[in-house]
């Protein structure tokens, strides 16, 4: 990872902080210190005129997520890749954005963890949760953008972030997802310059 830096996602809901505070207080338990999503390494490389992403991501799920997974609920995993054009004065516009979606599920009958890549449709099963999470966290040669689409002389930054959501519930159950925020585990953005 080159020149990777972190920043907190700019939230547009600061005004709702007071209201959400009530909800936060109602949480069953606090998040453990080691829980979360950590991007151990991330790098982009140009190969054959295409920029590829290699990344190693450690998914440390919280108790709720683990319990939900073992209870058969689907974990939705989203790896967001954002390419921004660097400017000096005004804000940086998003040049391109790619979202890689996965689903992780425990299959009780076979006692195996199923990992599906929703973008490619591939599916793999793993005998253990650790193996499945390790496979989920290993990103190799993920095509990001064609180099020909980038302007010469411009500077671009790449940022990635992984988010784990417990299954998107429908109807009245959807309220749960938003009332209890430990149902969503969001990593920090990691950004680095696209070295050309």
């Amino acid at each position: 990872m080159r020149r990777a830096e972190r920043w907190i996602e700019p939230r547009g809901w600061r005004l709702a902080a007071a209201g959400l505070f009530v909800v936060l207080c109602l949480q069953a338990g606090g998040a453990r210190a080691e829980e979360g999503i950590e991007i151990r390494s991330a790098a982009t490389r140009l190969q054959g005129g295409v920029w590829f992403l290699d990344a190693d991501i450690i998914y440390s799920l919280n108790e709720t997520a683990l319990e939900a997974l073992d209870s058969g609920l689907v974990l939705d995993v989203e790896l967001a890749i954002r390419l921004t054009q660097r400017r000096r004065i005004i804000w940086d516009p998003t040049f391109a954005e790619l979202k890689q979606r996965y689903q992780l599920q425990f299959h009780a009958l076979t006692e195996r963890y199923i990992l599906r890549n929703l973008n490619s449709g591939e599916q793999a099963t793993y005998g253990s949760r650790e193996a499945a999470l390790a496979a989920l966290g290993t990103v190799r040669a993920l095509p990001v953008i064609d180099d020909a689409l980038l302007s010469r002389g411009e500077r671009y930054d790449v940022a990635i972030r992984a988010v784990v959501d417990i299954k998107q519930l429908r109807g009245p159950l959807a309220v749960i997802t938003f009332l209890w925020n430990d149902w969503r585990i969001a990593g920090d953005w990691v950004q680095w310059r696209l070295q050309r």
């Binding site: 209201g19 009958l109 099963t125 519930l169």
Partner: protein, 742 residues
């Protein structure tokens, strides 16, 4: 006022915003039921809106509560009723809401718990185990088959494997057989699937297990069914040979797969619901609590709102009533609605309109009465007749100017006071009261009488009439006494009679006097020489006496003639002070032992009068005083002149005072009558002629005894034509002028 209106508008706007936010939040909630994905986008807004709505409601409630408490303490009308209504409304809202909330939470908790049954969970677990056991036996079978195939392939060359592999796959019933070498290199492959894509190589987990010397078998879910995946190392002839792995996929019968899948899904759904039970219960309880809180706040605010709405017309009515009590009949209350309160307000407005009309009528009536009263006052004021209305207790109700002038007291200033109180020191009034009481005390309320009053300035004759004012129950509510001063009228009549007497005397007596005198003289001349001395003396004395007495009678008749004579007035400008000085000088002779003092007002320049008449007036007055002082030492006659411009007319006063014996009090009012005299000398016509001459000028004369002794005669003469006309028309009364002079 403006601040209150601004506050009211502000509260209304706040209320509208709060309610709009709540409605918006409810709409958002409704939209999330249809589209749950949107909930993620707007749930923050929903919370924010709910929070804002609740906050606004809370602010409204607090402000309403503070206002109500303040009004209650200030005992604002309607505040007690509003407090009671708010308490009742809140009680009515809180109790059912609390009950609904309690039972809802209980139903949610117990209802959701009822979904999960231990037996169902155990049964699903057993079914899962059974399915798993069934599939595991198949897995073992397929693993054995894989092991046999691997044995069959032992020591085979790579190239020979491909053809044999197809035979083995068909024989084993596998879907796919793959031989993989180092680095996931596919050595041989047999599959009944289309070859559009390469089969997936055994993953790290498989390879790890095989390297550990253990065969791999797993059941992989594929869509609605399953496949059994096996992997095993192909035994090699030599330890240094490349590791080759046989990777096989076996189908699971469709029926078995469907059943197993059904069991799996049922079990998964149950576990999912079981997992969601707690958060779902908490979420519903929280949502219910929020809804309850908002409902409660809305109910409380609604209680305030409707209480205020209901009591507002009452407050308006109270304010209107107070305004009317203060006399503001222009107040009109706004109509609240077409309900009972509206009817009440309408009735109130109608009543106020009628009251205002009645008041206007009363005002007009009062105005008319005032106008009549003023009209009557003007008439009474211009009347020369005195009119006094009295209460039953003889308090003065009204009195006109003439009444005061006649009685010599300012009755208009004494309105409201008892007449008896005014009469103190006023003999005229006192006598009038005595006469009046004499009638009224005997029940004679309607009487008419000519009464004679004796005041300081002499006798006054009043023609007096009394009428009772009609009161309730027939009893008189008071009296009206009307009186007129007829003293001057009577005097005039008397003067006219005396004039006629004088004229007749002059005519009837004067004529025979001359023949008598001539006859007496002839008798003396004819018979004086023929008689003896003694008789001649007698004749001489007798005829001389006759002649003398005839002369005296002639003189008397001439005086009568002068009294009766009324030659034309010759009005000229007369310097009064000079005239007084000239006349006075004639009496400053040795033969007249009287000191004449003059006190002349230099302001009195000229008067328009008949100089001869004025001179005669002065002569008569001075002579009268001199004759009265005859034989008295230190005799002094003082003549004073004073000018006045009271009542916008010019007049002069001439006062002649002496230090003589004065006149008897009972003769004061008759001193100006002919032949009324207290002196041994004189014809008795001097002062009568003075009075006649003064009245010919329009003036008046009066006599009074001085406190220190002596007689004072006061004459008022108009100084110009205007004053003379006014005084002749009696527009200015002698009494008024007398008061001004005093």
């Amino acid at each position: 006022m403006a601040t209150a209106a601004l506050k009211r508008w502000g509260l209304a706007a706040l209320t509208l915003v709060g309610l709009s936010l709540l409605v918006l939040a409810l709409l958002f909630l409704a939209s999330t039921v249809e589209n749950a994905d949107r909930f993620g986008e707007i749930y923050n807004w929903i919370f924010l809106l709910n929070l804002a709505g609740a906050s606004i409601l809370l602010v409204l409630i607090i402000s309403n509560l503070v206002r109500l408490v303040r009004e209650y303490r200030s005992q604002v009308p309607g505040s007690r009723l509003a407090s009671r209504m708010v308490a009742i409304f809140v009680g009515l809202a809180v109790l059912p809401l609390g009950l609904v909330y309690y039972f809802s939470v209980q139903f949610i908790s117990s209802g959701i718990d009822a979904w999960f049954d231990v037996n169902v969970e155990a049964g699903l677990g057993d079914a899962l185990d059974l399915s798993r056991a069934t599939l595991e036996s198949r897995m073992r079978e397929h693993l054995d088959a894989t092991r046999q195939i691997a044995e069959t392939l032992r020591g085979r060359e790579d190239l020979a494997m491909a053809a044999q592999l197809e035979v083995l796959r068909r024989g084993s019933g596998a879907i796919e057989l793959t031989v993989v070498g180092q680095s996931s290199r596919i050595i041989a492959l047999s599959s009944d699937r289309s070859m559009t894509e390469l089969p997936a190589a055994p993953n790290d987990e498989v390879m790890l297990q095989i390297r550990q010397g253990r065969p791999f078998v797993s059941l992989d879910p594929v869509r609605d069914s399953f496949v059994v995946r096996t992997a095993m190392a192909i035994p090699s002839g030599h330890p240094l040979d490349e590791l080759r792995v046989l990777h096989a996929l076996f189908p699971v019968p469709e029926r078995v797969g469907l059943l197993a899948n059904s069991v799996q899904e049922a079990y998964a759904q149950y576990r999912e619901l079981s997992f969601l039970r707690a958060p779902f219960t908490r979420s519903l309880t929280l949502a219910l609590t929020l809804v309850l809180l908002l409902s409660l706040l809305m109910a409380v605010w609604g209680a305030f709102f409707f209480a205020r709405k209901l009591t507002a017309p009452i407050q308006t009515l109270v304010a209107g009533t107070r305004a009317v009590a203060k006399g503001d009949f222009d107040t009109r209350l706004p109509m609240p609605a077409r309900d009972e309160m509206g009817f009440l307000v309408h009735s109130f407005n109608d009543m106020i309109t009628r009251l205002a009309g009645a008041r206007e009528l009363a005002r007009q009536s009062q105005q008319a009465v005032e106008s009549q009263r003023a009209y009557l006052a003007v008439i009474l004021g211009r009347l020369s007749t005195g009119v006094v209305s009295l209460e039953q207790d003889w308090r003065i109700k009204t009195a006109n100017e003439a009444a005061g002038a006649i009685l010599g007291v300012d009755l208009e200033a004494a309105i409201g006071r008892p007449l008896a109180e005014v009469a103190e020191g006023r003999p005229l009034v006192r006598e009038l009261i005595e006469v009046g009481r004499g009638h009224i005390d005997t029940g004679d309320f309607e009487w008419r009488e000519q009464i004679m009053l004796r005041g300081e300035a002499g006798r006054r004759v009043l023609m007096c009439a009394c009428s009772a004012l009609p009161g309730e129950d027939g009893a008189p509510d008071g009296f009206v006494i009307v009186f007129d001063d007829i003293t001057a009228l009577l005097q005039a009549q008397r003067d006219a009679a005396w004039g006629e007497v004088a004229r007749r005397l002059a005519h009837e007596i004067k004529n025979p006097l001359t023949p008598i005198q001539l006859s007496a003289e002839r008798i003396r001349r004819r018979f004086l020489g023929q008689m003896s001395d003694e008789d001649a003396q007698v004749l001489e004395r007798a005829t001389r006496t006759i002649v003398q007495q005839v002369e005296a009678m002639k003189e008397m008749v001439n005086a009568f003639s002068d009294y009766a004579r009324a030659p034309d007035m010759e009005i000229v400008h007369v310097d009064l002070n000079q005239l007084v000085a000239e006349v006075a000088e004639l009496y400053r002779v040795r033969e007249i032992p009287v000191v004449i003092e003059l006190s002349l007002d230099p302001e009195v320049v000229t008067v328009e009068a008949d100089a001869g008449r004025v001179r005669q007036i002065l002569h008569n007055l001075i002579r009268n005083s001199v004759e009265a002082l005859e034989g008295q030492d230190d005799s002094v006659v003082r003549i004073t002149t004073r000018g006045t411009e009271e009542f916008e007319l010019r007049a002069v006063f001439i006062m002649v005072e002496d230090n003589g014996p004065g006149i008897p009090p009972d003769s004061v009012d008759r001193i100006f009558d002919p032949y009324v005299t207290s002196k041994p000398k004189g014809t008795g016509l001097g002062l009568a002629i003075v009075k006649k001459l003064v009245e010919e000028h329009g003036g008046w004369v009066e006599a009074s005894n001085q406190a220190e002794g002596g007689l004072r005669i006061t004459i008022a003469l108009p100084a110009d034509e205007g004053a003379r006309s006014a005084m002749l028309r009696r527009e200015i009364r002698a009494s008024e002028l007398r008061r001004a002079h005093a």
